[in-house]
Symmetry: C2
Subunit: 372 residues, 2 copies
Amino acid sequence: MKHHQMMCWSNKFICFSLFLLLLFKAVAASSSSQEFMPVDGHSHGGFHAENHGHHKDEDGEEDEVFGDEKRKKRCSSSSALSRRSSISWLVQATEMLYIIGLGLGDERDITLRGLDAVKKCEKVYIEAYTSLLSFGLSTDGLSTLEKLYGKPIILADRETVEEKIDNVLSEAHGSDVAFLVVGDPFGATTHTDLVVRAKTLGIDVKVVHNASVMNAIGICGLQLYRYGETVSIPFFTETWRPDSFYEKIERNRNLGLHTLCLLDIRVKEPTLESLCRGKKQYEPPRFMTINTAIDQLLEVEQNQGKSAYDEDTECVGFARLGSEGQMIVAGKMRQLQTVDFGEPLHCLVIVGKLHPVEEEMLEFYKINSEKP
Amino acid sequence: MKHHQMMCWSNKFICFSLFLLLLFKAVAASSSSQEFMPVDGHSHGGFHAENHGHHKDEDGEEDEVFGDEKRKKRCSSSSALSRRSSISWLVQATEMLYIIGLGLGDERDITLRGLDAVKKCEKVYIEAYTSLLSFGLSTDGLSTLEKLYGKPIILADRETVEEKIDNVLSEAHGSDVAFLVVGDPFGATTHTDLVVRAKTLGIDVKVVHNASVMNAIGICGLQLYRYGETVSIPFFTETWRPDSFYEKIERNRNLGLHTLCLLDIRVKEPTLESLCRGKKQYEPPRFMTINTAIDQLLEVEQNQGKSAYDEDTECVGFARLGSEGQMIVAGKMRQLQTVDFGEPLHCLVIVGKLHPVEEEMLEFYKINSEKP
């Protein structure tokens, strides 16, 4: 009898809890059209911050300051719920866009934090635009990632990133979406764009950082704080030979600073013909080699004639930086011109004035370092 | 009978294989005093490269070009062994120093590659010198890492890094040693030093990259390739007020470039008194706040008077960048002066000329952005 009574009370309590939950969901839906899903034993996003002070978020997610206000609002209603009902379900804020850096090597360069995020996202996109090949992402590469993550990955090519990104973002309303990026999420303009568009649509964004070419070049021993402005070297065509990088390199060298040259990547570029006809056809992918870059650099020096550098200028060539098969060679421009750096991606550093420790470290990468 | 004969042959074959293995070990020990240990089913370092062409190293380690020659020599003898014997033991090259970036947040910011390396190292050091606090490494912090790694970690304080590093390196002769670094291994001079000293002692070095402040600042929307030279702002004392950063900031701003200001960290600095007496005593740790940095910047501007910047110059303040509790606020110098950024580490970006996308992104971080 007593047992039966307890069962009744227990049932009533569950009913009351469910009623509160439904009420809360209705209020939440009407006030901010956000979806809340009960999950087992975890709370996400900003809830912990409110309920447990400085207690660490179990998913180890990063808080961005601009999401705080919005999150605080949610916290106040959710903490009211958790105070009133004793059910162990905690409420999860969804509609989160994770932008996750994969680092430079292979699938094992993701961070534990990044992997945690991927595993809980419903849809996972990978950006194929900026630097697909540095990751060696053939169909096999994708499969390796899919195996590690235990879920399918959707390849977001240039068209998706530039034209259909709103579809991706609209999916982030109501579910967690991951957008994987080779290197760090803020190496290329497109990802800043992505964040701005997401924020404008009221979607919370969390960023998981990783190594990028901008800091991994430190491995050659040239101090990162002794670099001047970074330059991009575009493929020259018959009619288009832009040389705005020259002035920047000249300036850096006059100040004794090193210059990182990012070399052109052309993936899924529409052909000129197809643009005229309005029907999409793409050029085969092209990646600038260090050799081509040096050819173009020396051509521009010859035209400009301001002695910003010459074929005896010390440089460091990087191929497949951060991957197992990376290749780093230091030498004069004319020496590097003869080196076969192999598969993309390549980048080049034009050396400024060397400090003793920099010089010592660079020595390990020197071409024919035993010869004078 | 036939079965018995086969057993004999099989035994003879195993004996011959073991003989070859012992012979090889003796030759290897006498020729290069390197230790080789049989392990179950794995080979490390450069062996795969020789035996399987482009086959991926199962530990996903990075090859550095300057280690190739040495490795090739080892490969030729080891591949001879593996061709002749059918035993599944593969030979492992030890004496490797791994320098592993931990990223900026907590223990879950290590990469899978980094964790793999830590797990197989016999000794694990963590560098406490450059940026201990960004990682929140109290004794508790260390325990969290130790729990994740399943092994003890030795704290390498400033004294160890600067004076006793050769002891650490000598341990890398004969065993794998990991040296953990907050951020990326090449953010600070000391790690280049470490690599140079290891290389000079004939120790192979592998680097596992991660995010560092140098690329994670990208999160505020200012493009990394639009930064000029990075500056360091040291604590002013009564008698020592160095301002060489002023000229660099002036130059960057004249070019419309952003400037990253790294703020002073003083951990385990010997007191002046203790230096005179020859007995080590340390000052309490100090970390420059954004407020102090701005005070010092404005003082120098007042002295120099070249209008490199003023209290209305747009800046971005970062506290605990890359961690969960990170704080990013954009505003004029005088606005940021009033903000309490909380716990270290802090850094500051002085904004140059803004591109439209940069401006749009920065808007999300603006202090009182609703007010004019």
